[in-house]
Symmetry: C2
Subunit: 243 residues, 2 copies
């Protein structure tokens, strides 16, 4: 009976070890995730931004962390609690996010560019509040640095995943972005669809690599994030095996 | 002893009645308060906004309600709980806020324009997400309707209080705005000062009427709101007595 108990105990320990290793497949990996919108100042009180809530990026961070990864989130202004055991770096503008991403990407294994980065910023930010003396006004914008493309162009680049939030021709734009920016993967969604995308709690994605396509249908952002993280992980592993 | 107790009881009732009347000096008054920022769409995903949190407007609503007023808040996008027993009308753009304000102002006794309304909106909102094909971009803006000036110009105008959030020459701009827009009162603050204004929990105001000026020094927005509401009420009462 003592032997039986001992065997049972050893079996239990084995099961626990195996479960723990299976549940933490990302152990030892560093994931860098951008999230939320950026804000581009017009003057001290006004800015340009977008409808990103940061929910998707934070859900990906949480999923990667719970699977064992060491996670850093670079986030624009959001109203979200940072997931447990993730490090958050708060930024405001695209230029700030670019600086932080380029500083942290070389030491990361996976980079997920989930933030909705402003494509343009104001050419000259006014130091005082602009007075509305005119009936019309022109804002001159210049292009922001392309964060995900610059990370993908690094010599020691992490496995780089981009996002494409589109309102039309989603597949066409997403595949173009994947190739042009030399990404390893791109997750595309149609933000014009009801019940998904910005500020929604649900989302659906179609994930493209150069060779394949995977549809993750409409579900909660937390469940979607888990499935996306697992898909990224498997693709990343098979890429490493090929090398 | 019975008499003593009865007297005590009557005294208690009197005290309660007097206290209740004193604590609810705004009973029977309708207050309309705008709060928060507005968002002006550029395309389906991008917009222009400002750093207003809505805290000051919501604090004024709460203070007026607890002093007995029937309060309606017209609010842009904020992350705040609507104060108890206040009605909230949610809007996004300046044009929507203008419509709601003009619809509700004629039946209001006091109008407090605390929202940080965008002075300009995009001339032509793109129906699809604008692609970043160019290195530069120009946004053509046109002036938004002036909500507080249009309310102050109503034939049956409520007692109209404006706000001036400035980064320089605060008194000069505030007094100019008071006269030009025919306001009854204007509350001015310097948002460039550390620890006050947008998104801060504290604020300081200098309140001007055509004849006087009252300084409300740096304090919590909830305490400041109480003092401002009392100052508005007293000025409003003395205006009515003069008529």
């Amino acid at each position: 009976e003592l032997v039986a108990l001992t065997c049972q105990a050893i079996e239990n320990i084995n099961t626990r070890v195996i479960t723990s290793a299976e549940q933490k497949p990302l152990s030892g990996q560093k994931w860098l995730i951008t999230a939320g919108p950026t804000r581009e100042a017009i003057d001290p009180v006004r800015y340009i931004s977008n409808h990103s809530s940061g929910k998707m990026g934070f859900a990906i961070a949480s999923a990667a962390q719970s699977l064992g990864a060491e996670v850093t989130i670079i986030s624009g202004p959001v109203n979200l609690t940072t997931p447990q055991n993730c490090q958050k770096i708060a930024v405001t503008s695209a230029v700030e996010m670019h600086q932080q991403a380029l500083a942290h990407a070389p030491k990361s294994d996976v980079f997920v560019a989930c933030a909705a980065v402003a494509d343009y910023r104001i050419d000259h930010i006014a130091s005082e509040k602009i007075k509305k003396s005119q009936d019309t006004m022109q804002l001159n914008l210049i292009k922001n640095p392309d964060i995900v493309a610059d990370v993908a162009a690094l010599e020691s680049k992490p496995f780089t995943v981009g996002f494409a939030a589109e309102t039309q021709d989603v597949e066409h734009y997403a595949k173009g972005k994947l190739a042009r920016k030399k990404l390893d993967m791109i997750a595309a969604n149609n933000v014009a669809e009801i019940g998904q995308g910005f500020n929604s709690d649900d989302n659906a994605l179609t994930v493209f690599t150069a060779n394949d396509e995977k549809v993750l249908p409409l579900m909660s952002k937390s469940e979607l994030a888990k499935q996306l993280v697992q898909h990224i992980h498997h693709t990343f592993q098979s890429t490493r095996l090929k090398k």
